[in-house]
Amino acid sequence: MEFALSEEQEILSESVRKMLEDNIDIDLLRNHSKGDDVIRGNIRQLVVEMGLPGILIPEEFGGSGLGVLEAALIAEEFGRYAVPTPWIGNSVMAPIALLYEKGNSLSEKWLPLIASGEITACVSLTEAVGKRSNAGLSSKDSKVTGTAIFGLDGELNPRIIITVLEDNLILIDTEKPGVTISEIPTIDSTRPVVEVVFDSVDFEIIPGGKDAIQKTIGVGRVLLAADILGASANMISNAVEYSLERKQFNRVIGSFQAVKHMCAEMAADLEPCKSLLWYAAYAQDNIREEAALLSCHVKAHLSEVGQDTARTSTQVFGGMGFTDLLGMHYWFKRIGLSRQILGGPEKVRQEAARLQGFLS
């Protein structure tokens, strides 16, 4: 038994971090938030060059065939740098959905294109997590009509949409007529989410039924938790760094216990989340019976810890934390979005209880 990252996993983490460190900064996030398409394209290019979209896709389809833990480590780094480019929907949930049943024709057709970066896939599973009265899909004569909301990774003209129709995941090729994609303005400019309106569009069913939906949601939750972990870690380290520079009363504010204890509490809450995340991510591939429960727990717990971290670390910066100048709000908001996507903490904890047979 070894409860630690392997050397390969450490190297993967570090190389992604290095690439992001060299390429992503606050100015970029700021320009990206103004909807700069050149920036979107450039960042996407970097991620594709590193082969990251194919991380979960088997080698036979041109990917690197790694596991959910590796994907989560990348998500953690993406959270740390608030990377504004498709990741969780396109590179994780879409492959997980398409790979649920081996040997289906959809995976043969689309996975190589996702792995190579030729296309992006947008995933909207809101319908399966929390149905809304003014959204949802229905089908008639093998065509789908309706609205899918909070689609992830739909900002770069996605070639395919994966969403839910009744008890199945379905795939829609956006080159078919009748698909309209528009961005939903949320607090988080680093990860645009979209609304997709379907007007009598051809679709194909992804095999796997409800189980495939659950598995895809479960892995998505683990990845969102990983993003929160990285974003929170970044907020803490920035807060600590700032506290060692900023002086008041002739002292760096980081020498005041009031400030030190805020930072210590954040660190104490966040550190065990790392182990929870490793276990939950590992379970997705290796401990089938615990996978769903752990994905609920890690999502809910990191949502809570992340929210506290986002609030407290902003306060460490004092008035500067509240301004746009330092840009810490990009992480504050990113954590805020992750908390709600694929189920907020109460919703997810209810599921955790149900999975243990506590709620009838």
Binding site: M1, E2, F3, A4, L5, S6, Q9, L69, I236, V240, S243, L244, R251, V252, G254, S255, F256, Q257, V259, K260, H261, C263, A264, E265, A267, A268, D269, E271, P272, C273, K274, S275, L276, W278, Y279, Y282, N286, I287, L294, H297, V298, A300, H301, E304, E346, R349, Q350, A352, A353, F358, L359, S360
Partner: protein
């Protein structure tokens, strides 16, 4: 990450389960400081013989003498916790003194004390805190001066759990009053039957005397009873404080509490509704479960790190702070679940074990304060973990 246990571990787990099935009737209740009776000594002996207590203590000192194997230790802890059977004897002698002697004691000291301590024959108490030296432990004033072959000790200790039943005390005393405070301390082993030692029980908010005050008046201790050199006591003690913080942060204790709470929720009804069917309580349960899981995975991470002889840094620094608070939150939740019945603290027809939770809830507050207060832990986390500076010393009194 590889959480697969090989076949060796599967069969090891089966062995532990079988042992527990066959022998659990012999187990005690894991009571707090009461001197072990004959049955409990027998049980401890059996545990050591089978490698379930004193597992990695060398056999020349009366231990089982196994190689350190984190997974096996984990399996033992899990299975004992699952069957709600306390792991072998847990006291300050076993968890704090023995590791210290193994690391820093002389051969003579190891031979004299380790075997008798792990068997439960000799019970130890810890003499660190003083009325004027709590968080600032290094300012302690209990004095030891040399007289012939002895130290002569005068002073007072406080928060000494188990002093009334202990045979021996490992104690910090000031031997070099002219040295800086950290360098003037020595670590002595004191026989509690020595003339001049007076133990007075210290009643706490729980209504019990879990601790004592210990007074020393001209107490003579042979010079050979020092561990480490004169003036090195602070460093010797810090070796044991690490062990204490590990002991206060045992994740299996939280897991056991959580399991008891789930049992309670499945049994207890209010207005005809089982507590487990109440969504608000369930939400609290799930929040706590996530924290328990996080800390137990954190401890797996620490086990792996210690096995590889790596410093787990932050993952280790946070254990005492988090675990003590988590345990108290669990006790507080159990009390809320019981509602009015949760306030019962004594014999009553309506008692559902609530007195137990109230006691834990109060005693845990003592643990949050003791062994390095939560605030001291936060200083350690921010300084050693995050690299933040120490609070500067205030200007001397009177200066403006």
């Amino acid at each position: 990450m590889d959480l697969n246990a090989g076949p060796e571990y599967k069969s090891f787990r089966e062995k532990v389960v079988t042992f527990l099935k066959e022998n659990s009737h012999m187990a005690g209740k894991g009571r707090t400081p009461v001197r072990p009776n004959q049955d409990e000594l027998e049980w401890q002996k059996k545990l050591i013989e089978n490698g379930y207590a004193a597992r990695t203590i060398p056999s020349e000192y009366g231990g089982f003498g196994a190689e350190s194997d984190v997974l096996k230790s984990r399996i033992i802890a899990e299975e004992f916790s699952q069957s709600s059977i306390p792991m072998g004897m847990a006291n300050q002698g076993i968890s704090m003194l023995v590791p210290t002697l193994l690391e820093l004691g002389t051969d003579e000291q190891k031979k004299s004390w380790i075997s008798k301590t792990i068997s439960g024959e000799v019970i130890w108490c810890q003499g660190y805190s003083e009325p004027g030296s709590g968080s600032d432990l290094a300012s302690l004033q209990t004095k030891a001066i040399i007289d012939g072959d002895d130290f002569i000790i005068n002073g007072q200790k406080i928060w000494t759990s188990g002093a009334q039943i202990s045979d021996m005390m490992f104690c910090l005393v000031r031997t070099e009053p002219d040295e800086p405070k950290h360098k003037g301390i020595s670590y002595l082993l004191i026989d509690m039957k020595t003339p001049g030692i007076e133990v007075r029980p210290l009643m706490t908010m729980t209504g019990h005397a879990e601790f004592n005050e210990v007074f020393f008046t001209d107490v003579r201790v042979p010079k050979s009873q020092i561990v480490g050199k004169r003036g090195e006591g602070w460093y010797v003690a810090n070796a044991t404080l690490t062990h204490e913080r590990g002991m206060l942060g045992d994740p299996n204790q939280s897991a056991t509490r959580l399991k008891e709470i789930i049992d309670l929720m499945q049994q207890e009804t209010v207005n005809g509704e089982k507590l487990i069917d109440n969504p608000v309580y369930l939400d609290r349960l799930m929040r706590l479960q996530a924290r328990v899981l996080s800390m137990s995975f954190n401890s797996l991470r620490l086990l792996t790190a210690s096995h590889k002889k790596l410093d787990a840094k932050m993952a280790k620094l946070i254990v005492k702070l988090n675990s003590c608070q988590l345990n108290q939150d669990l006790a507080g939740f159990a009390i809320d679940l019981l509602g009015e019945l949760g306030t019962i603290y004594g014999k009553s027809n309506h008692d559902h074990g609530s007195g137990k939770w109230q006691w834990k809830y109060m005693f845990d507050l003592g643990l949050i304060i003791g062994g390095g207060t939560a605030q001291i832990q936060k200083n350690i986390i921010s300084e050693a973990g995050l690299g933040m500076p120490r609070e500067p010393k205030p200007m001397a009194e009177g200066k403006k």
